[in-house]
Amino acid sequence: MMDAYTEAVVIRLGIAILLALGYWITAATGKFSFGHAAFMSIGAYTASILTVKFDWSLETSMLVSGLTAAVAGAFIGWIALRLTILYLAIITFAFAEIVKILLDSWDYAGGASGLFGMRGTTPQLLAICIGVVIVYLFFLTRSRKGLSYEAIREDEQAARACGLGVTRISVEAFAVSAAITGVAGALSAHETLIITPAQFGAPQSLLIILFVVLGGVQYFWGAIVGAVVLTMLPIWFDFLEEYYQITYGLLFVALMILRPQGIVGSGTERRFTMRALARLSPKRGKADGDG
């Protein structure tokens, strides 16, 4: 058994990983949402209402959360994904704000003062969720569907010419992404034990983006790296807590200038890594030279 503190850290870490993996799916198609916290809050409120007011089990409520978030994601995706990246940014941005306003004035769910009465979650449940998502991503990235995500990220017109239903594929990716984010929201609500609309504001959305952008979009495990780094940093350096906004802000700025492709992966220059690896390990270098 873990002590309570370790357990809390592990759960927080797990939720961050789940959020990052969920976001990675839409980022893989090149579509960046700026309001994923909205799907988190939809998931959190759905699950909490079901467990607190209807006494459902967390497992079932969690699945319903995922489904609700997926529906919301499909709807927003359908509006926004036919348009350009800037529009997608604006619409998702605004969507998160609408959800916040609606929750703020929804008295049944506690309004601005929030909802409480949840009974907690376990690291095991979280581990199962992450496991399922990782297995899904493992197969996804090796399938034609995963390939079509990359194709859309590269060139939408060419993808259309190849017969790819770009909107359908991106909406599907967006909905799956929202579902996973919704489940993460449900679990996080049962970890914090009280949820308020304010928790799911723009800073939360930005944090989720930062996980993936820091990690890199190229491989899904990059997102895990980003989530782990950004969750552990404030725990290791607790002085960051006070300056977290400035830190995150500066992190965004520095990252975009120095490594917009993230820690993991090499962006467009895939071969560059091979060269870097070749330089690091003499064996590989030789093999490269021969070939």
Binding site: Y136, K145, E150, A158, A159, R270
Partner: protein
């Protein structure tokens, strides 16, 4: 009656009030190689974009095998047997050569919501073999793992055709396939296009290069200022007085 595979009827396309195409009709016979030529700005590429679904026409109807496809999105025309290439290459530069070909097969593969189960069906194995064949046929096998963007220009052009053919189309629209090619590459292009036709493909070529058009086409349509000028066998059409005027001035 001629067996028409593609009909573009009275196509008109306005861009901000300026007509790029005015009531142009193009009838493509099954199994033919149909050339579309004309001076720059004549509306050739616009016509090709309308036929492939990348631009909706302001007026007019596009029929594929007798079916009205005017409002159908480009990706929905692919399963009906229509694919295209682009004037300026549109490859997935960051993906490998083989992945580009696999994407060309998209409309033939299962891609539904749950289609990522790793067990591969016989049909999918067949597709993989088809991809290898396509690579082989276009001389790309040795580059299959290279990123498409790193290929030399000529091979990129080949890859684009290989990708388009991988959808097993019955009709291929080619937008200036000879653009940017050396004289030698242009000469190689002619038998290659003929071979596509001999495999049962109908080909529509938009092209600047009269030599390629003259050598390969069964029928040529000449456009000028968005209107159809002449149509007919290349020798006759290209030699007509109207065409000489359009190209050379008085």
């Amino acid at each position: 009656m001629a067996d028409l595979q593609l009909r573009a009827l009275d196509i008109t396309k306005h861009f901000q009030g300026v007509a790029a195409l005015a009531e142009v009709t193009l009838e493509v016979e099954r199994g033919s190689i149909h050339g579309v030529v004309g001076p720059n700005g004549a509306g050739k590429t616009t016509l090709l974009n309308v036929m492939s679904g990348f631009l909706p026409p302001s007026r007019g109807v596009v029929e594929l095998d007798g079916r009205d496809v005017t409002r159908l999105a480009p990706q929905k025309r692919v399963p009906l047997g229509l694919t295209r290439t682009f004037q300026n290459l549109r490859l997935f530069g960051g993906l490998t050569v083989r992945e580009n070909v696999l994407l060309g097969q998209h409309s033939r593969a299962r891609t539904g919501f749950l289609s990522l189960w790793p067990l591969r069906t016989a049909a999918e194995k067949e597709l993989d073999r088809a991809a290898e064949h396509a690579l082989e046929a276009f001389g790309l096998t040795e580059y299959r793992r290279r990123r498409a963007a790193t290929l030399p220009y000529g091979l990129q052009k080949q890859l684009e055709i290989a990708r388009a053919v991988s959808a097993k189309p019955r009709l291929l629209l080619m937008d200036e396939p000879a653009a940017g090619m050396t004289a030698k590459e242009r000469l190689d292009l002619v038998p290659r296009i003929r071979a596509l036709r001999d495999e049962g493909l109908t080909v529509v070529i938009v092209e600047h290069d009269m030599e390629v058009i003259g050598a390969v086409c069964d029928v040529v349509t000449v456009l000028n200022f968005g209107r159809k000028l002449v149509e007919g066998a290349p020798k006759v059409a290209l030699a007509s007085a109207e065409v000489r005027t359009a190209y050379l001035g008085t």
